[in-house]
């Protein structure tokens, strides 16, 4: 394993310290328990948005704390969900009285830890559970689908509503709506390596890819030979479209997300290939996002997310945002 680190134990802390120092105009970092807040306090009456999850998906979520997005983020150890005390401490810091909305990716660990935090809290709170990964069969008897890159979009769009005075219930409803209207799927060319493990989570042959991979290096739908970008893109998109069923001429947001080890050039190439397919199907790309936002350490790979848009979503997507990883309009 080659990583810029001093020890697996200090990896997270030193990275957080660097993040906090590099962006002290936007965020403040707290330790034991670890959480990140905006550098300025929550406005009175504004619903506080808190997300969190295992570390290793940066810039999600710490890089999404700031005006127009999250009020706080709770980073767990690498790929381990955070613990209730983190959510409680973060809530205490950022709840201005209007309540707390937790944005949680659908993994047992995240769900249970956030649930326990919610049960221990005194103030009003609600949760949005993201489960956009269409690689996984959905069923009400199981854990269901995984929450992946659409979480970034939920945080942006709900963040805008919260900023403009939406109530806790309105924010929750909008978050659920974005999630329902989103579908994602990813593919990996290489594994990630958890610092504490020191070796790759899985092994891929020199010509293999993991199709439908999870953002923790969990195996996906199947292992396959590497194909051309257009073939991969088509298969990812077909799976998402089959799930989302966008209408003819419907506006969508196309989000090409890198897993951490894939250069931008390739993400834009995927964007081009995706556009070719979507154009052919009369699905209109009204908004776009391309970059490494919901990563899996240094994994080489990418995911595509489609979100069906309406005017409400577009308005909240376009509104000003000022975080370390996403910034526009201010």
């Amino acid at each position: 394993m080659k990583k810029f680190m001093n020890s697996a134990d200090d990896f997270l802390k030193e990275s957080l310290q660097g993040f906090g120092a590099a962006h002290e105009d936007i965020v403040s970092c707290y330790y034991d328990p670890n959480f990140i807040t905006r550098s300025s306090p929550t406005k009175d009456g504004k619903v506080a948005l808190i997300s969190g999850g295992g570390s290793g998906h940066e810039p999600m979520h710490g890089g999404l704390v700031g005006h127009g997005m999250l009020d706080a983020a709770c980073p767990g150890f690498v790929f381990s969900s955070p613990t209730p005390d983190q959510m409680l401490a973060a809530s205490e810091k950022v709840d201005s009285g209007a309540g707390v909305l937790f944005i949680v990716k659908n993994y047992s660990g995240d769900v249970m830890n956030f649930e326990m935090a919610a049960e221990m809290m005194s103030g009003p709170n609600a949760s949005v559970l993201t489960n956009d990964d269409v690689a996984v069969e959905d069923s009400s008897f199981t854990t269901g689908r995984r929450g992946v890159a659409a979480t970034v979009l939920v945080e942006k769009i709900v963040g805008s509503l919260a900023e403009s005075g939406g109530s806790l219930q309105e924010c929750k409803a909008l978050g659920d709506k974005v999630n329902t209207n989103s579908g994602s799927m990813g593919v990996a060319f290489s594994s990630c390596t958890v610092p504490a493990a020191g070796k790759p989570t899985f092994e891929l042959g020199a010509d293999e890819m993991e199709f439908g991979v999870g953002i923790h290096g969990e195996p996906g739908r199947r292992r396959d030979k590497v194909k051309s970008a257009q073939e991969i893109t088509n298969e990812l998109l077909e799976a998402i479209i089959e799930d989302l069923k966008p209408e003819n001429n419907e506006d969508i947001l196309l989000f090409v997300n890198g897993m951490g080890g894939t250069p931008l050039t390739e993400l834009y190439l995927i964007y081009d290939n995706a556009k070719k397919l979507l154009d052919g199907k009369n699905i209109k790309i009204a908004r776009s996002l391309v970059g490494n936002y919901c990563t899996s350490l240094e994994m080489q790979g990418a995911s595509i997310t489609l979100t069906k848009l309406d005017q409400e979503l577009v308005k909240h997507w376009d509104s000003a945002v000022h975080t370390a990883a996403m910034r526009w309009g201010m």
Binding site: G54, F77, Q86, Y107, S108, G109, M112, A197, G214
Partner: protein, 208 residues
Amino acid sequence: MSVNFLIQKAKEIQVVIDANAAEIEKLDQEIGDGDHIFNVQRGIKLVIELEPTIKDLPISKALNQIAMKVLSGIGGSSGALFGTLFMTMAKGSEIDEGIDFKKAIEIFAEGVDAVKLRGKADVGEKTMMDVLIPVSNCLKKGLEENKDKNEILIEAVAVAEKGMLSTKDLLATKGRASFLGERAKGHIDPGARSSQLMIKTVCESVNS
């Protein structure tokens, strides 16, 4: 059961878990995200480090501190679940008046019930519940049937092992492995394995 007993068991568990670390790590890499062993090792270490802080506390307070340490120190599914187990045990009524074998089984069973509620998983879903629930049932049944303590403990070890092994051929419907569908078959659940090792360690150590 005393605070000292708890710390001693934690130390014994640490030895066993460390000895099986590579296997447990591999299990969670195969059907999870690979962190289970680190979560468990971190949790055990933190509990053992509590010794000076809790050694003179009443058992309910000590158990509660252990529960909080587990809950805040582990993270992931196992942190929430093991945390729930200890939090519930710490709340068991009148435990400060002493925990005998019967009381120990009662609070363990209450803990397992709480874990079941927290994780919404039952036997057969390829999780640690495939170990915890059968063991809890076996212990309760042994008590009801007035079996000999040692016999009960030996049975519990066997039941734990059987439950752990049963996860191998199951389809997962809870936890990360559920995302794998058919591909999770043929792999033992990491949480079932770590739970089974802990139960075996404690039962065999008490029964000696």
